[in-house]
Symmetry: C2
């Protein structure tokens, strides 16, 4: 039966997400989840849907969310496409733009899921190395006919760094293909690329409710792009890709902007403290615009540190990028989680 | 920007699901939803997840569901792939097996979404007409190299008829490609094709919780196939394709088999009454193995009947199949909904 599977699928290994231990107590700082519970309005909205019932199909385009999000983001509802997590949006976008044998371009090191998405399409994944200061090479916008989608994770993972929106706009103007800006972490940054979407029809911005809205368990993400693009992408998505509970929960979450601002302030304060503490322990820490930091210790290799932390039930993400190097990506947790991490690191490094 | 979209996507019109009026009061008998609320265990399970919180990513493979479903269906958990509705499963399967220029084969008339799924892949959709008695032509299993997936909706929509499992097994043995049996309505039928999966490694059975478990709003479906197939399909699915609430709700639903049997009995009793009443009004009604019936009136064309019903706020599905004909597909509702439908039909036909 395996022989019937497309060769590109047979040959790929598949994306491995960060560990999600379903049992046992971990200080979990490996997949950039928000350490705080979401806005209480989320649970209320979901309970209301439960009262109304689940036997009917949900709204195919999550209209309630799009109306509220459009107000918050200063766009129109028909500029928004909703998805079952931003993963669903990334899948829709790659299916719409990339055929077999074409190329998806990304920066390196960055979010490795894009390689998998290209492989599923039978496409080539091309990664352009960042400069040592995490700025993009100008060649990122050099065009070839086979390049049909460029992706920029901004702020980037694992680095937490950002390419400034004016630089992104310049790249977009030079690119003769769509540019997807993955803003999973933008709510923790000083700026973002949403304003560029209006001036550059080839720019699309994808956001998730998983990180800044503390809703990783709900699966809700969205794309902001010009309406002619959204119309095409709607043809590719599954008919009812967002369920009734997640639509209600996500709408309540984006409606609660005071919660977002308060949560953001807490994360950013802890991020500063985490950065300084790691530096004082001998880590090189990249200044972060996200809810994680990327670091390497001056003397200690990263993998044994990851393993020693895991043995003491602290999970961080060990990342090893061929031809580039490795390091630890540590999610900004609560103050208590951060204290626990730092104390254990301290004892490991002694 | 549109010019960057793949030509096959640009040229397709996209699938239009049945009308889902978000406002106004309709007797809604057009998209085969279950007219009853789901098992009360579903709401309890979802409220428990809300208590635990939504800020963590869900289990990537919905293990809790797979364990319970495996017991109910007499398979092993690694024979099950869970999806965000069966739509997600259909998307994963088409992406795994069908490349550009290849062919997806289906019967005709049947579920028209499969044409869209083929078009998104840049593949050809081939539909083989049912015989007038809704049996399959033997040519359904005639092989060509380009045919990479055969799909059989069983019970079929719109007809509600079924190809017997022993016939499906014979087809599977002749087919030199995977055979996906879409059993969205199997819980309302006298039999099903699950036992075939063990004997024929190229057979996959897809089920949904939307119809028989009254959970269309939750988006949960699953595939039963041999583990070597599941392993390949896992590489294609989004990492966290099922959210924490739907995993808990679906697990509670499949755990409540007494609810399913009770619900099924009610639907089947109403289906019998609906069938007889329509026949007594002059409709030709196909004996149904699903939660809907397919009918045409002896004297009255179908479209004006659909429109007259809609004007009186009863929604049924009008289907028109080129080179085949049209008809009404009417979902089995509650007894009250069925009475309302029949009374209005009576007055229209007078």
């Amino acid at each position: 039966m395996q022989q019937y599977v497309r060769k590109n699928i047979q040959e790929m290994t598949g994306y491995t997400p960060g560990e999600q231990p379903q049992a046992g107590k971990f200080v979990k700082l490996n997949t950039n989840e928000n350490p705080y519970p979401p806005s209480p309005a989320v649970g209320r909205a979901i309970r209301e849907v439960l009262e109304r019932g689940l036997s009917r199909y949900p709204d195919p385009t999550a209209t309630a969310f799009r109306i509220r999000a459009a107000e918050v983001l200063a766009v129109e509802p028909d500029w928004i496409l909703c998805g079952n997590g931003s993963d669903d949006i990334l899948t829709i976008v790659t299916r719409a733009f990339i055929a077999e044998g074409q190329t998806l371009r990304s920066a390196y090191p960055s979010y490795i899921l894009y390689r998998t998405l290209a492989e599923i399409q039978g496409a080539t994944f091309e990664s352009m190395p960042f400069h040592p200061d995490w700025s993009l090479p100008a060649s990122f916008a050099d065009m070839r006919d086979d390049v049909r989608l460029a992706v920029l994770v901004n702020p980037n993972s694992p680095s937490g760094t950002m390419v400034p929106p004016d630089v992104v706009a310049t790249l977009a103007a030079r690119l003769n293909c769509p540019l997807l800006v993955d803003e999973a972490y933008a709510d923790f940054a000083d700026t973002n690329c949403l304003p560029i979407v209006r001036q550059h029809p080839n720019v699309m911005v994808v956001r998730t409710m998983s990180k800044s809205y503390a809703l990783a368990g709900l699966r809700f993400g969205f794309l902001v792009a010009q309406p002619t693009v959204i119309q095409q992408l709607l043809k590719v998505k599954d008919s009812y890709n967002c369920d009734a509970l997640s639509i209600a929960g996500a709408t309540a979450a984006i409606d609660d902007q005071p919660w977002l601002q308060d949560n953001r302030s807490k994360i950013l304060a802890t991020r500063d403290r985490l950065t300084e503490s790691l530096q004082s322990m001998g880590f090189a820490v990249q200044p972060s615009q996200a809810n994680f930091v990327w670091c390497q210790h001056a003397d200690q290799p990263s993998r044994p540190l990851y393993e020693a932390l895991k043995a003491q039930r602290v999970l961080v993400r060990y990342m090893d990028y061929p031809d580039w190097g490795d390091g630890l990506r540590i999610t900004v947790g609560t103050d208590e989680q951060t204290d626990a991490l730092l104390a254990i690191l301290q004892s490991i490094l002694k």
